[in-house]
């Protein structure tokens, strides 16, 4: 049989066992790896569809944060005179908005992932994890495009990134994991309770003001700094800004708390998601 001969990454293991849900940890990373092409296609679909009917397409990925940057610079910078850690205000806001917008868009998309794909979920099997994962990954392209504006911006203000730039991927990874972890929770809950869809915009808005996007975390009193770090995006955004510009202090204790919170949210999200996964086709 040809299907058996063609070395096929999606081909099933020789024996597939179907059993009732067992235990609280069933996440199968090997299976997820075998479905990596499907994740790729989901990412590809999300990106294609996102820009298919827009007039200026991917330029939105720069315009969105750039326009927000101007608004923030006007109101928070010029009118409210919030401190910007000695950075030029445009660089300060843009470097905070980039990771934030990646996070908030990914979180919103991941939340909707299960419900939006219910037509597929109720018809075909694949690891459901592929859906929130691909939502979070497809946001990275917008993020990368948005980063392009950083080059002229930093060149104009003559900010040269130092060796701290090497740590940038670490902060990005934290943002991805945080968006995925929270997205796992919210997408699973959204499948069960559609109320979540109305809650998320408020959550994102509240979260924005709880994160050092429009202000620097230095305005938070030092003794509450660790508490502030419980919001992992605080550590991520501060860290992102620091690694990019090399100005200010590296985020210390705050980032350790952030990493711990990210790991806890991600792990519990996986458990909750896979608990929902076995019955989602019945309830969605």
């Amino acid at each position: 049989m040809t299907a058996a001969n063609t070395a096929n990454i999606l081909s099933e293991p020789p024996v597939l066992r179907i059993t009732p849900p067992q235990g609280w940890w069933e996440v199968d990373f090997h299976e997820l790896w075998r479905f990596r092409e499907l994740i790729y296609f989901f990412v590809w679909r999300d990106i294609k569809v996102r820009y298919k009917q827009t007039a200026i397409g991917a330029a939105w990925a720069i315009l969105q944060p750039a326009l927000t940057m101007i608004v923030f610079a006007l109101f928070f910078g010029k009118l409210a005179h919030l401190p910007t850690e000695g950075l030029p205000i445009l660089v300060f806001y843009y470097s905070g908005l980039l990771p934030w917008m990646y996070f908030s868009n990914s979180l919103t998309n991941a939340t909707a992932a299960i419900v939006q794909n219910q037509g597929i979920i109720t018809k075909v099997y694949f690891p459901r994890l592929a859906l929130p994962i691909s939502s979070v990954l497809s946001g990275l392209l917008d993020f990368a495009i948005g980063c392009l504006l950083l080059v002229p911006l930093m060149a104009y203000y003559r900010i040269r990134p130092g060796p701290s730039l090497l740590l940038l991927p670490v902060f990005l990874l934290l943002a991805v994991l945080m968006a995925l972890g929270a997205g796992l929770w919210l997408s699973a809950m959204n499948a069960l309770y559609r109320d979540v869809r109305y809650v998320v915009p408020f959550l994102v808005q509240f979260w924005l003001f709880a994160s050092p996007v429009a202000y620097a975390s230095s305005i938070v009193p030092v003794k509450y700094r660790w508490l502030y770090g419980l919001n992992p995006m605080a550590g991520v955004i501060e860290g992102f800004r620091w690694s990019l510009t090399g100005r200010g202090d590296p985020p210390g204790r705050m980032i350790i708390v952030s990493v711990l919170v990210v790991l806890v949210v991600f792990a519990t999200g996986l458990i909750y998601f896979q608990k929902m996964e076995s019955t989602v086709a019945d309830v969605v």
Partner: protein, 435 residues
């Protein structure tokens, strides 16, 4: 090595009543938490599938039949891993693909080309595989010209063809098919059936869910009848289909009435109606080439009247295909004395189209005209078309519409170079036709 590819042992799926209807709102969960005090009665649950066990061997084509809600689709969903069982387990050997609905994963904003890749990947094909089969898929779908047009501009027929073309090019060892026949037009349904037949000849294992007894008898060697989530019968397709028709459609190829509950009046009572072969064997399934005898057995209780039995034949769409009235010269226009009569009407072979046929039987007095007894669904049977090439379908395997399927006599005349070819300037085998 065992050639069992599907082994299902005691599998069961329990649903909470209402749980499937719609999504829950947080409000309901909160209010329930106060109302129910955590107790939940067992009446809140239903078993869609319960205690189902069976094995399927390599290359078998197994039909799953049963009335609505019998658990057929749930069982298929369990095997397709779309939902998890509550109890029991199953083992599947080999790559699985499910055709629970064609067009899964199609996105309206993407072009035909893009959708082939997306849907192919969702249905389980690798990118390399899709690239390899791409041209074949496009050719099969007959939408070459629109392949770079967004899917939302496709007509529903084109969309369906493209969707099915993708699904048809999966090469699983185990194929799960659900109600493909319920989507699309008749031509498309038959195309699906034809493709499934082709796949099954390739030695693949197929589990096929359908309401259509005709489709199952044609495709499957074996059939499993589900009733209220349990296996009621598992065996050769024609036997299981007969049970299904008898129990679900409440008709079979043989009906008998005893005593006073027999349909009729004080003059005539129907005793039995049978569908049989020439040699007298009662059958549920007739080869299209076979003559079918319909026996109408009736008792005349009051002699002295002119009585004429007649039969009314309906196809599975409920169309009254024809009515046949007894023409036997020995009893025509003759007063019948009391006694038991058996009248047999012979439906010739190669007349009825394939499918599920019901026959109503009646006895009528002609002068004055009066229907003494009429039993609408007296008997039912299947007519199946042969694939051997000597029925009216010849070598054609696709969909043949029509209520009749007669074997007509065909004649051919042949003329190598008709006179008007010259004046029209036709070319034959590349040469101009000369006078």
């Amino acid at each position: 090595m065992s050639d069992t590819v599907i082994r299902v042992e005691g599998i069961g799926k329990r649903y909470r009543v209402g749980g499937r209807e719609s999504y829950r709102a947080l409000r309901d969960v909160l209010s329930n938490a106060f109302r129910s005090n955590g107790k939940r009665s067992c009446r809140d649950f239903i078993w869609a599938v319960r205690d189902v066990s069976f094995e399927v061997k390599q290359g078998e084509v197994v039909g799953l039949i049963g009335r609505n809600g019998a658990g057929k689709s749930t069982l298929l969903k369990l095997l397709a891993r779309i939902t998890r069982p509550t109890v029991g387990h199953a083992e599947l050997h080999g790559r699985i693909a499910s055709l629970l609905e064609v067009g899964t994963g199609f996105h309206p904003e993407l072009t035909g080309r893009e959708n082939i890749f997306l849907s192919g990947a969702i249905l389980g094909m690798s990118k390399a595989e899709i690239v390899r089969k791409f041209d074949e898929i496009v050719a099969f779908s007959e939408v070459e010209r629109f392949i770079d047009t967004p899917f939302k501009h496709y007509s529903s027929g084109m969309g369906m063809r493209l969707a099915f073309a993708v699904a048809a090019h999966l090469e699983p060892e185990i194929l799960l098919v659900d109600e493909v026949l319920s989507v699309g037009d008749a031509r498309f349904q038959k195309k699906c059936l034809g493709k499934i037949e082709e796949v099954s000849r390739g030695g693949r294992t197929i589990l096929f869910v359908s309401h259509s007894a005709a489709a199952i008898t044609r495709l499957c060697s074996r059939c499993i009848l589900l009733n209220s989530g349990r296996v009621e019968k598992d065996g050769p397709a024609h036997e299981v289909i007969s049970v299904y028709l008898r129990e679900v459609m409440v008709t079979s190829a043989f009906r008998e009435w005893n005593g006073a509950d027999a349909p009729g009046d004080s003059v005539v009572r129907l005793r039995a109606v049978r569908a049989r072969k020439v040699d007298g064997t009662i059958l549920d399934t007739f080869d299209i080439r076979q003559p079918i005898g319909i026996d109408v057995v009736f008792d005349v209780l009051e002699g002295g009247r002119d009585l004429t039995p007649n039969i009314h034949v309906f196809n599975q769409e409920g169309i009254n295909v024809f009515v046949a009235i007894d023409q036997d010269p020995s009893w025509r226009r003759r007063a019948r004395p009391a006694g038991r009569y058996t009248s047999t009407a012979w439906i010739p072979g190669n007349l009825l189209s394939e499918g599920y046929v019901t026959v109503g039987a009646a006895v009528t007095t002609m002068a004055p005209q009066n229907v003494r007894v009429y039993e609408r669904d007296a008997v039912a049977f299947q007519v199946i078309d042969s694939t051997e090439g000597n029925s009216a379908r010849g070598d054609y395997a696709g969909h043949l519409p029509g209520v009749f399927r007669p074997m007509l006599r065909w004649e051919t005349t042949y003329e190598p170079k008709p006179a008007e070819w010259h004046s029209l300037g036709e070319t034959v085998n590349g040469e101009k036709v000369l006078p």
